[in-house]
Amino acid sequence: MNQVVNALKSEVVGLGEFHVSEDTSTMLVCIGLGSCVGVCLYDARIRLAGMAHVVLPASRGTAMTDTHDAKYADIGVPRLVEKMRSLGAVSSRITAKICGGASMLVSPGVSDLFNTGERNVTAVVQALERERIRVVARDVGQHHGRTVKLFVATGAVVVLSANKTLLEL
């Protein structure tokens, strides 16, 4: 598995960005997700993968720049889906796997201020529901960071947690 992974090109999806790829020698990667959510979409028939690195749940009317198309779940998810559709994907075939949305701070006095992770997960799920896309797997919440990799060739999603556990969704 490691040899295969090492042979692949990594396309890093930065904070607030989304990437779409049909290059089967590539994996899309969100590194070190904390409260952010990595949204992994895949149309298996045409082997088209899309990944968004969502930072916040709702835009509340804030204008979005071209470079940060996925900063907000409510705008970023539809834009990612739209991009995939423009490349031939069909909503009914697209499956979603999501991860991240951790609550990173659990100390008394500050934990209540930070439920961004949970709100991000909720907003992403709602946005996907509006697009009629099924969430088939998720690794969300808890209190640790994650790196997520989406393999364009197969649609497999692998999550590496800060505690070194490896999970395939």
């Binding site: 590194i31 070190g32 470079t67």
Partner: protein
């Protein structure tokens, strides 16, 4: 303390924050009983897409202490160390032989929290005295995780309405040992962002 590098030393924000940072280091120096040198002190704007690299390699495990502050100004403070350095700092504070600390138990978390508390309080006291208005820190929140995931906490709190972070980035090392850490101060609003027109 010796300042080896001092870049972008313009504007009242940087001057105030630099004074605060020096005071924070004095507090840490007293706590670990070692002289501390500043190897980098830099105030700059960081684009959201670049924020993940603020603490170095995004997947590296970092031990940090997070505090928010409010009052006359509002923002975030993060004191962070590579995991192995944090363990060395804890050994120093507890008077243990180097290499004793191998994980973060209750006592170790408490030490890190106290270190963050001291750094944050010393920083904010200096600022508060300088401007003659109160600034209050939150309780410290120790955190051990991927560097990028820790930065996420601040990014999600500050970037709701903007795409840039204003960061004071302080890298320091203890004189006789290879101990290095970072103090990130990220103002959100109030007196510490009043000179944003000049760049903080």
């Amino acid at each position: 303390m010796t300042i080896h590098t001092y870049t972008n030393a313009k504007g009242p924000w940087h001057k105030l924050a630099s004074l605060g940072a020096m005071n924070a280091l004095a507090g840490i120096s007293r706590m670990i009983n070692l002289e501390i040198q500043v190897s980098k002190l830099d105030a700059r704007g960081v684009a959201m897409t670049e924020a993940q690299g603020l603490l170095g390699e995004p997947e590296a495990i970092v031990v940090g202490v997070y505090l928010s502050y409010g009052g006359a100004s509002r923002g975030h403070i993060l004191l962070a160390f590579p995991e192995e350095i944090a363990f060395e700092m804890i050994d120093l504070v507890l008077g243990q032989a180097p290499g004793t600390t191998l994980d973060l138990g209750e006592m170790e978390v408490s030490v890190m929290g106290e270190m963050g508390n001291i750094a944050g309080s010393f920083f904010l006291n200096e600022l508060s005295d300088s401007i003659g208005a109160p600034i209050y820190p939150s309780p410290p929140a120790p955190i051990r995780d991927m560097a990028s995931a820790i930065v996420d906490v601040i990014v999600s709190q500050t970037m709701e309405t903007r795409d840039m972070l204003h960061v004071l980035d302080l890298v320091f090392r203890a004189n006789s040992q290879e101990l290095r850490g970072q103090l990130l101060v990220i103002p959100v609003e109030g007196v510490l962002t009043a000179d944003q027109g000049q760049g903080p």
